[in-house]
Protein backbone atom coordinates (compact mmCIF):
# COMPACT_ATOMS: atom_id res chain seq x y z
CA UNK A 1 0.00 0.00 0.00
CA UNK A 2 1.46 3.38 -0.95
CA UNK A 3 0.09 6.91 -0.54
CA UNK A 4 1.89 9.83 -2.15
CA UNK A 5 0.78 13.47 -1.83
CA UNK A 6 3.13 15.34 -4.10
CA UNK A 7 3.64 18.57 -6.01
CA UNK A 8 5.53 16.96 -8.89
CA UNK A 9 3.90 15.53 -11.99
CA UNK A 10 3.69 11.75 -12.35
CA UNK A 11 3.46 9.28 -15.23
CA UNK A 12 0.21 7.36 -14.71
CA UNK A 13 1.16 4.53 -17.08
CA UNK A 14 4.59 4.05 -15.52
CA UNK A 15 3.04 4.08 -12.03
CA UNK A 16 0.44 1.51 -13.10
CA UNK A 17 3.12 -0.75 -14.57
CA UNK A 18 5.31 -0.49 -11.46
CA UNK A 19 2.26 -1.24 -9.28
CA UNK A 20 1.39 -4.29 -11.39
CA UNK A 21 4.99 -5.55 -11.47
CA UNK A 22 5.03 -5.61 -7.67
CA UNK A 23 2.03 -7.94 -7.37
CA UNK A 24 2.06 -11.65 -6.67
CA UNK A 25 -1.03 -13.69 -7.43
CA UNK A 26 -3.39 -10.81 -8.22
CA UNK A 27 -5.32 -11.27 -11.45
CA UNK A 28 -7.14 -7.94 -11.56
CA UNK A 29 -5.77 -4.39 -11.56
CA UNK A 30 -8.07 -1.36 -11.72
CA UNK A 31 -6.78 2.18 -12.10
CA UNK A 32 -8.52 5.52 -12.03
CA UNK A 33 -6.75 8.63 -13.30
CA UNK A 34 -8.20 12.11 -12.88
CA UNK A 35 -7.19 14.66 -15.52
CA UNK A 36 -7.43 18.47 -15.34
CA UNK A 37 -10.22 19.25 -17.81
CA UNK A 38 -9.52 22.33 -19.89
CA UNK A 39 -13.24 23.16 -20.28
CA UNK A 40 -12.90 23.80 -23.98
CA UNK A 41 -9.77 25.93 -23.60
CA UNK A 42 -11.23 28.22 -20.92
CA UNK A 43 -9.14 26.72 -18.13
CA UNK A 44 -5.50 27.85 -18.02
CA UNK A 45 -4.48 25.98 -14.88
CA UNK A 46 -5.71 24.51 -11.64
CA UNK A 47 -4.38 25.13 -8.16
CA UNK A 48 -4.85 22.51 -5.51
CA UNK A 49 -4.50 23.46 -1.86
CA UNK A 50 -4.30 20.79 0.80
CA UNK A 51 -3.82 20.32 4.52
CA UNK A 52 -0.36 18.81 5.00
CA UNK A 53 -0.42 16.13 7.63
CA UNK A 54 -4.17 15.62 7.65
CA UNK A 55 -4.17 14.74 3.94
CA UNK A 56 -1.81 11.80 4.35
CA UNK A 57 -3.61 10.60 7.50
CA UNK A 58 -7.03 10.81 5.88
CA UNK A 59 -5.96 8.94 2.75
CA UNK A 60 -4.13 6.26 4.76
CA UNK A 61 -7.31 5.73 6.79
CA UNK A 62 -9.35 5.34 3.55
CA UNK A 63 -6.89 2.78 2.19
CA UNK A 64 -7.03 0.85 5.49
CA UNK A 65 -10.81 0.87 5.40
CA UNK A 66 -10.79 -0.38 1.78
CA UNK A 67 -8.41 -3.19 2.79
CA UNK A 68 -10.79 -4.22 5.55
CA UNK A 69 -13.77 -4.33 3.20
CA UNK A 70 -12.22 -6.03 0.18
CA UNK A 71 -9.54 -8.65 -0.44
CA UNK A 72 -6.85 -6.36 -1.83
CA UNK A 73 -3.42 -7.55 -2.90
CA UNK A 74 -2.27 -3.93 -3.01
CA UNK A 75 -3.47 -0.33 -3.37
CA UNK A 76 -1.89 2.92 -4.49
CA UNK A 77 -3.02 6.55 -4.17
CA UNK A 78 -1.13 9.46 -5.75
CA UNK A 79 -2.57 12.97 -5.45
CA UNK A 80 -0.92 16.17 -6.62
CA UNK A 81 -1.18 19.62 -5.06
CA UNK A 82 0.05 23.03 -6.18
CA UNK A 83 -0.31 24.38 -9.70
CA UNK A 84 -1.37 21.93 -12.43
CA UNK A 85 -1.56 22.57 -16.15
CA UNK A 86 -4.68 21.70 -18.16
CA UNK A 87 -4.71 18.06 -19.32
CA UNK A 88 -2.22 16.97 -16.65
CA UNK A 89 -3.06 14.04 -14.36
CA UNK A 90 -4.30 15.30 -10.97
CA UNK A 91 -4.34 12.01 -9.16
CA UNK A 92 -4.60 8.27 -9.56
CA UNK A 93 -5.82 5.29 -7.62
CA UNK A 94 -4.79 1.70 -8.35
CA UNK A 95 -6.19 -1.42 -6.70
CA UNK A 96 -5.28 -5.07 -7.19
CA UNK A 97 -7.14 -8.19 -6.20
CA UNK A 98 -7.55 -11.83 -7.16
CA UNK A 99 -10.95 -10.97 -8.65
CA UNK A 100 -12.22 -7.98 -10.55
CA UNK A 101 -15.25 -7.21 -8.38
CA UNK A 102 -13.08 -6.41 -5.34
CA UNK A 103 -10.63 -4.32 -7.35
CA UNK A 104 -13.45 -2.27 -8.94
CA UNK A 105 -15.34 -1.76 -5.68
CA UNK A 106 -12.23 -0.67 -3.77
CA UNK A 107 -11.20 1.78 -6.50
CA UNK A 108 -14.67 3.37 -6.57
CA UNK A 109 -14.79 3.52 -2.78
CA UNK A 110 -11.40 5.25 -2.63
CA UNK A 111 -12.43 7.73 -5.34
CA UNK A 112 -15.68 8.60 -3.58
CA UNK A 113 -13.85 9.21 -0.31
CA UNK A 114 -10.99 11.13 -1.91
CA UNK A 115 -13.51 13.45 -3.60
CA UNK A 116 -15.25 14.52 -0.41
CA UNK A 117 -13.22 13.45 2.63
CA UNK A 118 -9.59 14.16 1.78
CA UNK A 119 -8.63 17.79 2.55
CA UNK A 120 -7.98 19.07 -0.98
CA UNK A 121 -9.49 22.21 -2.50
CA UNK A 122 -9.42 22.96 -6.20
CA UNK A 123 -9.23 26.42 -7.69
CA UNK A 124 -9.76 26.92 -11.41
CA UNK A 125 -7.75 29.64 -13.07
CA UNK A 126 -9.20 30.83 -16.37
CA UNK A 127 -9.06 33.81 -18.70
CA UNK A 128 -11.89 35.42 -16.72
CA UNK A 129 -10.36 35.02 -13.26
CA UNK A 130 -10.03 32.35 -10.60
CA UNK A 131 -12.74 30.48 -8.70
CA UNK A 132 -12.86 27.77 -6.06
CA UNK A 133 -14.54 24.60 -7.31
CA UNK A 134 -17.76 24.00 -5.36
CA UNK A 135 -18.39 20.58 -3.85
CA UNK A 136 -21.14 18.68 -5.65
CA UNK A 137 -24.18 17.20 -3.97
CA UNK A 138 -23.76 14.08 -6.11
CA UNK A 139 -20.27 13.52 -4.67
CA UNK A 140 -21.66 13.68 -1.13
CA UNK A 141 -24.50 11.37 -2.19
CA UNK A 142 -22.02 8.88 -3.67
CA UNK A 143 -20.63 8.22 -0.17
CA UNK A 144 -23.93 6.88 1.03
CA UNK A 145 -23.68 3.68 -0.96
CA UNK A 146 -20.72 2.38 1.06
Amino acid sequence: MRVSVQETAFDAGAEANAFTAGLTGAGAVVTFTGIVRDNGGRLAAMEIEHYPGMTERAIAAMVEEASRRWALADALVIHRHGRLEANAPIMMVATASAHRADAFAAAEFLMDYLKSRAPFWKKEIGADGAAWVAAKDEDEAALRRW
Binding site: Y51, M54, A58, K115, P119, W121, W132, A135
Partner: protein
Protein backbone atom coordinates in the same frame (compact mmCIF):
# COMPACT_ATOMS: atom_id res chain seq x y z
CA UNK B 1 -7.44 29.64 28.94
CA UNK B 2 -6.30 27.30 26.17
CA UNK B 3 -3.87 27.91 23.35
CA UNK B 4 -4.98 26.53 20.00
CA UNK B 5 -3.48 26.72 16.52
CA UNK B 6 -6.29 27.71 14.17
CA UNK B 7 -5.82 26.92 10.47
CA UNK B 8 -7.80 28.24 7.50
CA UNK B 9 -7.92 26.76 4.02
CA UNK B 10 -9.20 27.73 0.55
CA UNK B 11 -11.70 30.62 0.54
CA UNK B 12 -11.83 30.68 4.36
CA UNK B 13 -8.10 31.46 4.32
CA UNK B 14 -8.61 34.08 1.61
CA UNK B 15 -11.48 35.81 3.45
CA UNK B 16 -9.70 35.91 6.77
CA UNK B 17 -6.43 36.82 5.09
CA UNK B 18 -4.11 34.40 6.83
CA UNK B 19 -3.40 30.66 6.77
CA UNK B 20 -3.00 30.10 10.53
CA UNK B 21 -2.84 31.85 13.84
CA UNK B 22 -2.38 31.06 17.52
CA UNK B 23 -5.56 31.76 19.50
CA UNK B 24 -6.15 31.98 23.27
CA UNK B 25 -9.66 30.95 24.10
CA UNK B 26 -12.03 29.98 26.90
CA UNK B 27 -14.46 28.36 24.47
CA UNK B 28 -15.50 24.84 25.41
CA UNK B 29 -16.67 23.83 21.93
CA UNK B 30 -15.91 24.55 18.30
CA UNK B 31 -19.13 26.59 18.09
CA UNK B 32 -17.92 28.71 21.01
CA UNK B 33 -14.58 29.32 19.27
CA UNK B 34 -16.39 30.26 16.06
CA UNK B 35 -18.51 32.80 18.00
CA UNK B 36 -15.37 34.36 19.47
CA UNK B 37 -13.64 34.58 16.10
CA UNK B 38 -16.72 35.91 14.26
CA UNK B 39 -17.02 38.69 16.86
CA UNK B 40 -13.50 39.91 16.16
CA UNK B 41 -13.73 41.65 12.79
CA UNK B 42 -15.84 41.89 9.66
CA UNK B 43 -13.58 39.49 7.70
CA UNK B 44 -14.04 36.80 10.36
CA UNK B 45 -17.77 37.43 10.52
CA UNK B 46 -17.95 36.98 6.73
CA UNK B 47 -15.89 33.80 6.77
CA UNK B 48 -18.10 32.23 9.46
CA UNK B 49 -21.43 33.66 8.22
CA UNK B 50 -22.75 30.29 7.00
CA UNK B 51 -21.59 27.29 9.00
CA UNK B 52 -23.37 24.85 6.65
CA UNK B 53 -20.75 25.76 4.02
CA UNK B 54 -17.88 25.06 6.43
CA UNK B 55 -16.17 21.98 7.73
CA UNK B 56 -13.95 21.64 10.79
CA UNK B 57 -11.14 19.30 11.75
CA UNK B 58 -9.80 18.85 15.30
CA UNK B 59 -6.20 17.66 15.42
CA UNK B 60 -6.56 16.62 11.78
CA UNK B 61 -9.74 14.58 12.20
CA UNK B 62 -13.10 15.75 10.83
CA UNK B 63 -15.44 16.83 13.63
CA UNK B 64 -18.73 18.62 14.31
CA UNK B 65 -19.21 22.22 15.38
CA UNK B 66 -20.63 20.95 18.65
CA UNK B 67 -17.44 19.02 19.49
CA UNK B 68 -15.48 19.78 22.67
CA UNK B 69 -12.13 21.55 22.46
CA UNK B 70 -10.77 19.78 25.50
CA UNK B 71 -7.19 18.74 24.83
CA UNK B 72 -7.36 19.95 21.23
CA UNK B 73 -4.22 21.63 19.90
CA UNK B 74 -5.12 22.29 16.26
CA UNK B 75 -8.45 23.40 14.78
CA UNK B 76 -8.88 23.82 11.02
CA UNK B 77 -11.76 25.51 9.19
CA UNK B 78 -12.34 24.96 5.49
CA UNK B 79 -15.02 24.57 2.82
CA UNK B 80 -16.31 21.13 1.72
CA UNK B 81 -13.42 19.23 0.19
CA UNK B 82 -12.99 18.86 -3.56
CA UNK B 83 -10.28 16.29 -4.09
CA UNK B 84 -10.00 13.53 -6.65
Amino acid sequence: MQRIDVLYFAWVRERIGLPRERVETDAATVAGLVAELAAREERYALAFADLTSLRVALDQELADFGASLEGVREVAFFPPMTGG
